[in-house]
C-alpha cells in the first residue's frame, strides 16, 4: 500500500493512494472522463488525448490515463477549454476517415458515436478528408474496415499483449498510418492470427466486426479483456 495523499478533484477534496493515475482516481470518484485508446487490461499509450485534464499551477494539460496523482494536486476535468478541445478531437476523428453511421454495423453500438453525443458534436467543422480506405473481408469470421478505424491501437495491443500473436501492427506514419496484419497482407491469409477474436471485442468502432453480426445486433465486450488479464494475474 502506497502513501495516502489528498488531492482536489473538480473542487472536491479526496484522499487517494500515490502511484495511481488520475484516470483511475476519477473513475473511482465517479468523474467520467472520455477515453478512446485507453482500455483496462492493456498497456497505456496516451494517444487519443481525450482524457486531458488541467492541473493547477501548470500551463500544460495532462492525459489522465498516464499521469500519476501527486499530493495536493488540484485537478480540473470539465473546464470550458477542456470541453472545447475534446469536441475538437472528436471532430478530427470524424473528419479523418469515412464514418457513415447510417450504414455502419456498429450503429448504436459504437464508442465513437456515443462520444460524439457526449461532447455535443452536432456537426464537424473541419473539412472531411475522404481518404481512400480498403475493407479487408478475407478472414472467415470477421471484417476489418479501414474507413472506420481511428487508430486507437487497442487491437494491436490486445493481440500482442494478451493473445501473444502480434498479428496486428501499424504501418506508415502520420495520417497515412494503417493497421496491418503481418506483412500488410489479407487478414485471412495471416499465418500468425489465431482467430481468437479479441481484437474484434476491443475495437471501439465498426472497424473490426464479426461477420455474424448485422446492424442492430452487434454487441462488443471490451470489458472482458480487463477481466481476463486480472484472472491471469490471479493464476500466475
Amino acid at each position: 500500500m502506497n502513501e495516502i495523499v489528498s488531492i482536489q478533484l473538480d473542487g472536491n477534496e479526496l484522499k487517494v493512494e500515490l502511484g495511481r493515475t488520475i484516470l483511475d482516481v476519477c473513475r473511482e470518484a465517479g468523474v467520467d472522463l472520455p477515453v478512446m485508446c485507453y482500455l483496462e487490461g492493456l498497456s497505456v499509450v496516451g494517444a487519443c488525448r481525450l482524457c486531458v485534464v488541467e492541473i493547477e499551477g501548470s500551463p500544460r494539460l495532462f492525459p489522465a490515463c498516464t499521469t500519476p496523482v501527486a499530493a495536493n494536486q488540484a485537478i480540473r476535468t470539465q473546464t470550458e477549454k477542456l470541453k472545447r478541445y475534446r469536441r475538437m478531437i472528436v471532430e478530427l476523428f470524424f473528419a479523418e476517415r469515412n464514418h457513415v453511421c447510417a450504414v455502419c454495423v456498429a450503429n448504436n453500438a459504437c464508442e465513437l458515436q456515443d462520444l460524439a453525443r457526449r461532447v455535443g458534436m452536432d456537426h464537424v467543422r473541419f473539412p472531411y478528408l475522404f481518404p481512400e480506405c480498403g475493407v479487408d473481408a478475407s478472414h472467415p469470421h470477421a471484417v476489418l474496415d479501414h474507413n472506420r478505424c481511428i487508430l486507437c491501437t487497442r487491437c494491436v495491443r490486445v493481440c500482442d499483449e494478451v493473445e501473444g500473436a502480434h498479428t496486428w501492427d501499424v504501418m506508415g506514419r502520420g495520417h497515412a498510418s494503417r493497421v496491418i496484419a503481418d506483412f500488410n497482407e489479407p487478414w485471412g491469409s495471416s499465418t500468425t492470427c489465431t482467430s481468437c477474436g479479441k481484437c474484434v471485442q476491443v475495437c471501439p468502432t465498426g472497424a473490426l466486426w464479426p461477420k455474424a453480426a448485422s446492424m442492430g445486433n452487434l454487441r462488443k465486450e471490451p470489458g472482458k479483456i480487463g477481466e481476463l488479464v486480472a484472472k491471469r494475474k490471479l493464476n500466475a
Binding site: 494517444a47 492525459p63 478541445y85 478528408l129 506514419r173 502520420g174
Partner: protein, 557 residues
C-alpha cells in the same frame, strides 16, 4: 597515462613546428561537395612539385564556417583565408603565397561579396564577433586524427575527471556552468545529469542525440564531422558522472561523413584506451555504439529516439516516466544533444564559473547557429548567448543579398517561429526567443527577405510536421493535416475568413494536447506568422462579393 597524452602532444607539436606554413583545407560537407577533396590532393601535389614539402604542410580540417564560400583554405600562422579555391588554382596559390610570400588578393575570403575583406581572417566581422567554444577545434584540427585532438588538449578533461574529481564534483561543475540543453528545450544539463546519477541501477545509458532533423540546421553535423573526439570525450565524462558504462550516438543516415568520422574516432580511441574496459588506466569502463537513424524527424524526441534505438517504430511515449528514470531498455538514461556534449570538455578544463561568465545570467555560454536562406554569409557560427539577431544577421551574416529588404528570421525550424525586423535587437537567449513566439531550437537560423511569402513559410513547415507526424496521437496526426490543408487553400487564394478562424481554433488545441514536442510546437510557425504578418494572410483571402454566402469556403481542399 597522462604521460602518454603529453608524449603524443609533444610529437605532434614538434612535427608542426617543422612546418613554416600550414595549409588547412576545409573538408566539411559543404566544401567537400564543392571540390575540397580534389583541392586537398592538388595542394599536396603542388607543394611537392615546388619542393616545399619540408616547410609547408597540407592538412584537412572540419567545417570552418563560411560554407557558401567553399572550398576554403586557411594559411597558418598567417591567418589568411581564401575562398572558392578550385583544384586548378592550387599550384598558383602555393607558388604565390607559400613560395613568394604574397597574398592572392583576388581569392581572399569574402572578396567576391559586397562586405569587408580582411587580410587577417580573424579580423573579419564574421569571425571577430564569434566566440567559439563548442566549435573550438572545428576547422582547426584534422577531425580524423586522434593525435591532433590530443595535441589540442584533448582527453585531458576526461583524465582530470577520472583521476581528480568525484562524480558529484563533475556534476557540480556542470551545474555551476549553467549549461542548458542545446537541442532546443534548454533544460539545465547539470540537473539532468544529477537526476540520472541519483537513480540507482546497475545499468545506465548515455545517449548522444545527433538526429538533427530541423530543416535548415547543421550545427551538430559540423561538430560531428569536425571534432568527433570532443563529443566522444563529453559522452565519456557524462557516463562517468552518471554511472553509465554504455553509450550510443544516434545519428541521421543523411550524415554519412559524420558517421564515418565518428566510427573512426571510436576505433582510434579504443586503440588508445580512451574507451573500453580501463579507460586511461582507471577502473572506469565505457563503450560507445553508433545507431543510424532512418529518416524520421520525430526521433529527435527523446522517447521516440529510445524506441528507435530499441529497433521499434520511432513513436514517443508519454512522460513521465522520464528517460532519466526509465529510458533505454527501461534503465535510467541520459540524453543530451551533440552540441551539449561538445561543451562539456571546456567546462571541465576552464571551470563552470568561467562558462557561466559567458552569455546571459539565465542562458550561459555560447550557442552555435547555422545561418542560411537569404543571407550573404551562410554557414556555421558560434556566438555568446545574448548576442542580438541583428548582430548575427547583419554583422556576422553580412545582411541580405541582392539589395533586398530583410523580412524575418526563422529560428527553431518547424518548432519555431518567424521573428520580424522590429525585434531584431532582442538579445538571443532561451527565454527571450520564446517571448517572441519562437524557440531557440537547435540553432537553425533562416533569413527571409521581402520576396518570401510568410504564409508559404507557414505552409512549408506545416507540411513538414504533417509528413513527420508519427501518427500516434490524434491532435498531431489529424490536426497537422487539417492545418496544412487549410493553409494550402489560403496559399492558393481559395481560402476564406472562416478557414482562418478554424486555423486559429485548431492551433492552440494541437499545441496544448499533443503527446510530444513535435505536435506541441507544430503550430508555432503558423501562430508566429499570424502574429506578425497577419496582413499577408488577409491579402490572400479573396474579398467576398456583397451579400454572398457567409459560410465557410466554397472550395475543395
Amino acid at each position: 597515462m597522462l604521460g602518454k597524452l603529453d608524449e603524443i602532444t609533444a610529437r605532434v607539436r614538434q612535427r608542426s613546428q617543422e612546418y613554416r606554413l600550414k595549409l588547412q583545407v576545409c573538408c566539411g560537407a559543404g566544401c567537400l561537395s564543392s571540390g575540397a577533396g580534389e583541392l586537398l590532393e592538388e595542394l599536396k601535389r603542388a607543394v611537392a612539385a615546388q619542393g616545399l614539402e619540408g616547410e609547408v604542410g597540407v592538412v584537412p580540417t572540419g567545417c570552418m564556417g563560411p560554407c557558401n564560400q567553399g572550398p576554403l583554405v586557411r594559411v597558418s600562422p598567417d591567418d589568411t583565408m581564401y575562398e572558392k579555391v578550385v583544384a586548378g588554382e592550387a599550384a598558383g596559390l602555393v607558388e604565390c603565397h607559400c613560395g613568394r610570400g604574397e597574398e592572392v588578393r583576388a581569392k581572399l575570403l569574402f572578396s567576391g561579396g559586397e562586405g569587408p575583406v580582411c587580410e587577417r581572417a580573424s579580423e573579419h566581422p564574421f569571425f571577430r564577433l564569434q566566440r567559439r567554444v563548442a566549435l573550438e577545434n572545428c576547422g582547426v584540427i584534422n577531425p580524423e586524427s586522434l593525435e591532433d585532438y590530443i595535441a589540442a588538449g584533448g582527453y585531458r578533461a576526461l583524465y582530470h575527471a577520472l583521476t581528480g574529481m568525484s562524480r558529484e564534483e563533475v556534476i557540480a561543475e556542470i551545474k555551476q556552468s549553467g549549461l542548458r540543453g542545446r537541442g532546443g528545450a534548454g533544460y539545465p544539463t547539470g540537473l539532468k545529469w544529477e537526476t540520472v546519477y541519483k537513480h540507482v541501477s546497475a545499468e545506465k545509458y548515455v545517449i548522444c542525440n545527433g538526429d538533427e532533423g530541423d530543416p535548415g540546421a547543421f550545427m551538430d553535423r559540423g561538430i560531428l564531422e569536425g571534432d568527433p573526439h570532443r563529443v566522444l570525450e563529453g559522452m565519456a565524462i557524462a557516463a562517468y558522472a552518471v554511472g553509465a558504462r554504455k553509450g550510443y550516438l544516434y545519428v541521421r543516415a543523411e550524415y554519412p561523413l559524420a558517421i564515418k568520422r565518428f566510427e573512426l574516432a571510436i576505433k582510434n580511441a579504443r586503440a588508445q584506451h580512451l574507451l573500453g574496459s580501463q579507460v586511461l588506466g582507471t577502473e572506469f569502463q565505457f563503450e560507445v555504439e553508433i545507431r543510424v537513424g532512418a529518416g524520421a524527424f520525430v526521433c529527435g524526441e527523446e522517447t521516440a529516439l529510445i524506441a528507435s534505438i530499441e529497433g521499434r517504430r520511432g513513436q514517443p511515449q508519454p512522460r513521465p516516466p522520464y528517460p532519466a528514470e526509465r529510458g533505454l531498455w527501461g534503465k535510467p538514461t541520459l540524453i543530451n544533444n551533440v552540441e551539449t556534449f561538445a561543451n562539456i570538455v571546456p567546462i571541465l578544463i576552464q571551470g563552470g564559473e568561467w562558462y557561466a561568465s559567458i552569455g546571459t545570467p539565465k542562458s550561459a555560454g555560447t550557442k552555435a547557429f547555422a545561418l542560411a536562406g537569404k543571407i550573404n554569409n551562410t554557414g556555421l557560427i558560434e556566438v555568446p548567448m545574448g548576442t542580438t539577431l541583428r548582430q548575427i544577421i547583419f554583422d556576422i551574416g553580412g545582411g541580405v543579398p541582392d539589395g533586398k529588404r530583410f523580412k524575418a528570421a526563422q529560428t527553431g525550424g518547424p518548432s519555431g517561429g518567424c521573428i520580424p525586423e522590429e525585434h531584431l535587437d532582442v538579445p538571443v537567449d532561451f527565454e527571450s526567443v520564446v517571448k517572441l513566439g519562437s524557440i531557440m531550437g537547435s540553432g537553425g537560423l533562416i533569413v527571409m527577405d521581402e520576396s518570401s511569402s510568410m504564409v508559404d513559410v507557414a505552409r512549408f513547415f506545416m507540411e513538414f510536421c504533417m509528413d513527420e507526424s508519427c501518427g500516434k496521437c490524434v491532435p498531431c496526426r489529424v490536426g497537422t493535416k487539417q492545418m496544412y490543408d487549410l493553409l494550402h487553400r489560403i496559399c492558393e487564394g481559395r481560402g476564406t475568413e472562416s478557414d482562418l478562424a478554424l486555423l486559429e481554433e485548431l492551433a492552440p488545441m494541437v499545441k496544448e494536447t499533443s503527446l510530444c514536442g513535435l505536435g506541441m510546437t507544430a503550430p508555432n510557425p503558423l501562430l508566429s506568422t499570424l502574429r506578425y504578418f497577419r496582413e499577408e494572410y488577409l491579402a490572400l483571402i479573396p474579398r467576398r462579393a456583397e451579400g454572398a454566402s457567409v459560410g465557410p469556403s466554397a472550395h475543395q481542399p
